[in-house]
Symmetry: none
Subunit: 208 residues, 4 copies
C-alpha cells in the first residue's frame, strides 16, 4: 500500500489511461483497469479525479502539452516551418506511441461529454490550420507545385504524420525512425516547386 502525492498519482493515472485507451480501446477505459495498471484499487482513483470525464480532460491536457510543445515553429520560410512541424510531430509520435494511437483512433471524441469532444476537434483544427497556413504561404510565393492544391498538400502532410504514427509500433530503433522521417519528408517535399530548377536537384540539401 504505497501512498504517493496526488500530483504524482494524477500523472500516473493519465499515463495509464492513455496506455489503456491506446492498446485496448475506449471500451476498456475503466477505473478498474486503470487501478490495476497503477497499482491501487478502483475506488482510490476518485480521490485524484472526481469523474472518469475528468481523467479524459487530463488526457487532453497532457496531449496538448506534448503535441504543442514549442509550437508553432518560428522559421521564416514556410517550407522550413512546415518541416520543423513535421519533424516535431514525427518525433512526438515515436516518443509517445500512445498519444499517436489515440489521435489516430479518435477514441477520445466519444469518451467524455461535448466539451471534451470540442477540445479534440480544436486540437486537430489547430494542427490543420498551421499546415494549411504554411502551404498557402508557399503557394503564394509560387513554391507549391502548380498541379497540387493547398488542400491536397495538406492531406498529404497530415496523412504522412498519421501514417508514421501508425507504422511506428513496428519500428524498433531510433535510427530507423530518423531515416524514415527523412525519407518521408523527401517525398513530401517533392511538392515543393522551385522555379527554374527541377525538384530533384534541390532536395539534396535536405538530406539528413
Amino acid at each position: 500500500m504505497k501512498r504517493k502525492p496526488t500530483e504524482i498519482r494524477k500523472a500516473e493515472i493519465i499515463e495509464a489511461s492513455m496506455k489503456i485507451i491506446a492498446s485496448k480501446g475506449a471500451k476498456r477505459f475503466t477505473a478498474q483497469l486503470i487501478a490495476d495498471e497503477v497499482g491501487m484499487t478502483a475506488g482510490g482513483i476518485f480521490r485524484h479525479f472526481a469523474t472518469m470525464d475528468d481523467i479524459v480532460e487530463g488526457i487532453l491536457d497532457r496531449m496538448e502539452e506534448v503535441l504543442f510543445d514549442g509550437f508553432p515553429p518560428s522559421a521564416e520560410d514556410p517550407w522550413t516551418r512546415l518541416k520543423e512541424f513535421f519533424e516535431h510531430r514525427v518525433l512526438v509520435m515515436v516518443a509517445h506511441p500512445d498519444i499517436s494511437k489515440i489521435l489516430l483512433s479518435d477514441h477520445l471524441a466519444h469518451l467524455a461529454g461535448e466539451i471534451a469532444a470540442a477540445r479534440v476537434k480544436g486540437l486537430k483544427r489547430r494542427s490543420q490550420q498551421f499546415v494549411t497556413q504554411c502551404l498557402q504561404e508557399a503557394a503564394d510565393r509560387g513554391e507549391l507545385a502548380t498541379d497540387v492544391s493547398v488542400n491536397a498538400a495538406k492531406v498529404v502532410v497530415l496523412g504522412a504524420i498519421l501514417a508514421v504514427g501508425h507504422a511506428t509500433p513496428r519500428i524498433a530503433n531510433q535510427t530507423e525512425t530518423k531515416q524514415l522521417k527523412g525519407e518521408v519528408w523527401c517525398a513530401i517535399e517533392k511538392m515543393h516547386h522551385i522555379s527554374g530548377t527541377d525538384n530533384h536537384r534541390k532536395k539534396g540539401g535536405h538530406r539528413q
Copy 2:
C-alpha cells in the same frame, strides 16, 4: 412490430451498428441503441445474432466486401495499379463514410474477441501489402524517386488515404471529392520518377 425475414433484419442490424459505432463510438454500441435504430426491441436482436460479437463479425464481413470489391486492381503497370487502388479507396470513403470512420478509428479491433481483432489486422495488412508491392515493383523498375524508400512512399500513400477519410466529413459534394482525389494523387505521383523527364510534364496524363 413489423416482422421481417432474418436476412433483411441482419443487414439492417449491421448497417445500424456501423452507423452507431461510426457516429457515437464503440462504447455506445449496445443492443438497445441498435434496436432503437432498427425499430425493434433489444431482445429481438438476439434472434438474428447470437451475441454482440457476432454482429461485429457481420460488420467485418460487410467491410471486407465493400473495401475489397474488385480487389486487387489488375493493371500491369504498378503506378497505375496503385492509382486504381487509391481512387477506389477514396470513392469507398465517400460512399460509405461509416466504414471509413470505423476503419480509421480502429474501434472494431477492440470490440470483439481476438478473432475479430485478427481479422481487422488482416484487413489492414492486406491493403498495406498491396501498396508495398506496387511500390516495390515501381522501385525495381527504377520508377520510384531515388531519395524515397518504398517504406516512406507507403507511409505517404496510406497516410493520404487515412487523411482523406479524416477530411471526408467536411466535404459536402462529390465534385469536390473528385477534385481533391485528383490533386492528392498528383502530389503522390511526384514520387514517380521517370528517367529523362521531369515529373511535371508527365502528370498531364493522369488528369481526370
Copy 3:
C-alpha cells in the same frame, strides 16, 4: 423467476419502498432492499423505474392519491367539513401506517431532488390551507372559541392527526381506532364555540 407486467411491479415497488422508508429510514431506501422485498434482483428494479428518484416520485403520486382521495370534503358547515377531513385523515393513517410514518418523519423531503422536496411541501401546505380555511370560516361565524386563534387551532388539529399516526402502530383493532378518533375529535371540538350554550351539551350530536 416470476414475471409480472410492469404496472403491477411498479405498484409493488412503490409499496415496498414506502414500507422500507417507514420502517428502516431513508438511508436504507436502496434498490437492493426493495428488490429483496419485492422478490427480484436489484438491477431489475430499473426496468420499471429509471432512477431511484423516479421511485420517490411514484411514492409521492401514491401518497397524494391516498391522502387527497375525496378531498376536499363538501359539507357546508366549516366544523362539519373539518370533522370529515379529520376523520378521513385518521382512517388513512390507520389504513396506511407507512404513509403516516413517512409524512411524520419528513424523510421524503431529502430523498430526491428539489422537485420532490417541493412536492412534499405542497402536500403539506394543501392540508394546512384546508384546515386554516375551515377554521377561519368558523372564526368568522363566531364559532371558534374567542381565546383560540385560527393558527393555534390549526396546530391542534394537524397535531392531532400527526399524533394519531404516531400512536397507531400500537393500536391493534379497528374498534379501538374508531373510539380514539371519536374521543380526539371531542377534544378538538372543545374549541368549537356555540354562543348561548356551553360546549359540553352540544358535543352529543357528534358522537358516533
Copy 4:
C-alpha cells in the same frame, strides 16, 4: 489547520452533525460534510469519535440534556405540571430548531445500531409517560372533560407539540412563538374540566 482540544471539537462535531441531519437529512450525515462544516478533514473526525455511530450517541446525549433539562416539572397540580412541560418543550423547539427537526423526523432512530434506536424510543416514551401520567392524575381528580379519554388527550397534547415543531421553521420572531404557545395551550386546556364552571371563564388565569 487549527488544532483544538478534543472536548471542543467533540461539541463542534455534534453541533454540526445535528445541523446536517436536520437540514439535509440522514443520508447526507457523512464524515465529509461534518468536516466541511467544522473546518477540518474527514479523517480527523475519527480522532474524536471512533465511529459515526458514536457521533449519533453523542447527539443523543446532547438531545437528552436539552430536552430533559429541569425535567420533570415539579408542580403539584397535574394541569400545571403539564403546562410547564408543554411550555418547556415549545421553548426548546424554538431555541434548538435542529433538535426539534431531528426529534420530529425520527432520523436518529435508523441512523445507528439498535442501542441508539432503543435510546430514541426511550426518549419518546419518557415524554409520553409523563404526559399520560399528568392526564391520568387529572382524570382521577375529575379534571378531564368526561368525553375525552386520557389516551385522546395525550394525542392532542403530544400532537400539539409535534405540530408546533413542524410549524416552527416558519415562525420568525420569538414574540409570535410566545403568542402561539399561549393560544395553543388555551386550546388544549379546553379539555380541562372544572366542575361548576365553564372553561372559558377560567382560562383567564393562564393568560401570559
